[in-house]
Symmetry: C2
Subunit: 225 residues, 2 copies
Amino acid sequence: MRTYGQHCFIAKALDVVGDRWTLLIVRELLLQGPCRFTDLRNGLPGIATNLLSTRIKELEDAGLIYREAAPPPVATTLFHLTTDGRELEPVLEALGIWGVRYTTAQSPDEAFRAHWLGYPLRWFLHDNRPAAAVQTIQIVADDEPIVLTVDHGTITPRSGLTPHPDVTLVGGPDQILGLLTGMIDAKKAAAAGVAVTGDHRVLTRIRPTTLPPALAAAAATMSMP
Amino acid sequence: MRTYGQHCFIAKALDVVGDRWTLLIVRELLLQGPCRFTDLRNGLPGIATNLLSTRIKELEDAGLIYREAAPPPVATTLFHLTTDGRELEPVLEALGIWGVRYTTAQSPDEAFRAHWLGYPLRWFLHDNRPAAAVQTIQIVADDEPIVLTVDHGTITPRSGLTPHPDVTLVGGPDQILGLLTGMIDAKKAAAAGVAVTGDHRVLTRIRPTTLPPALAAAAATMSMP
DNA sequence: CCGTATCCGTGGAGATACTG
DNA sequence: CAGTATCTCCACGGATACGG
């Protein structure tokens, strides 16, 4: 492992997670929870399998992830974040918030996974009717579906489908982001190809918290096809 | 510039600042303020000049730093952070806080610059007598001296000397860190080679805020030679 | 199907010498 | 002082083949 050789907190951190792909592997495990090798590979389009293998080993040695030999229903090894690994969330959050300014409309040669968008929503949005009943939003973007659970002030994303969502959004990721952040209204979203079925009022329940100006701008432009 | 090609906030951020040395250049400009090429080189021991040159150009193109042709007293070009660049501070702060756990006693082959330690103090410490008069702490660690100004609740570091510090600390960086974080008392610090001259009570004025357990442990062990 | 190992082409990183 | 030029070498990316 190449190190900077500096007696500095930041350099030490980068010695551990500064290599290419490393933080993105942590991102996958943080956003998706425990993953199989193939899940990681799928969430990291472009990585070579040998490099993924190497990085996993390095992260294990550094104590950020560990391996679990999963019992029969899965019958494969699962990779988990350790506590040290999970504690990188503030770093990923700061990077994500800062990176919003470089996020433009999805380019055709860019890969996309719905959880890349879904999880960060909890850094940007909050539930402004915390006393109301739990509600769920089903999102179906390009690839896999995700569910947002709105409950007691916070928003929790997860992959998959929920049987009885209060509202379902189907459309492109940028347009759905524009709608969720309130940068475009339901009418414009419909014009941009977002199908909203169910109770529209859930959407007014979630509002940006510390929405960076850049996100507002990005969401607005991204939503216009 | 090699990109991940992912439509994801975090990946976008890493496309810009994920390359080797890039965040450390931002660190230098954030901690030291505007720098000459040589100042950067000195604050980044180990970097090759061509690589520093390349990274500076990339950061300029990305809009994170800009170049100023400084007038006669300096008579050289100064590199400044733009607003976008300065807004990386939360990222560096999160990295620094997380990186504390990997910080052990300074190894002889590790480079050290006092500002690497001094600036992050404002992330860990606060002034618990905000109503008191402004006080200054002169720190003389291995290399260049730094000054901490304690005023109205916050701690502001800068490089250089101050004419009449309330207290002066001379010693090794690890021992001074242990003393400032309260992990070792004045007696132990003296035994570890820290010379304290002036008003000791300034040191009880600054206290850890959200001191991560790791920092406590690190400071304690680092201070024992 | 899961994960590891190997080979190879390219480009970035590092060290050093050198110049406006 | 502020870089540029040159060279070497390893890391990365891609493909593929192999063992569990």
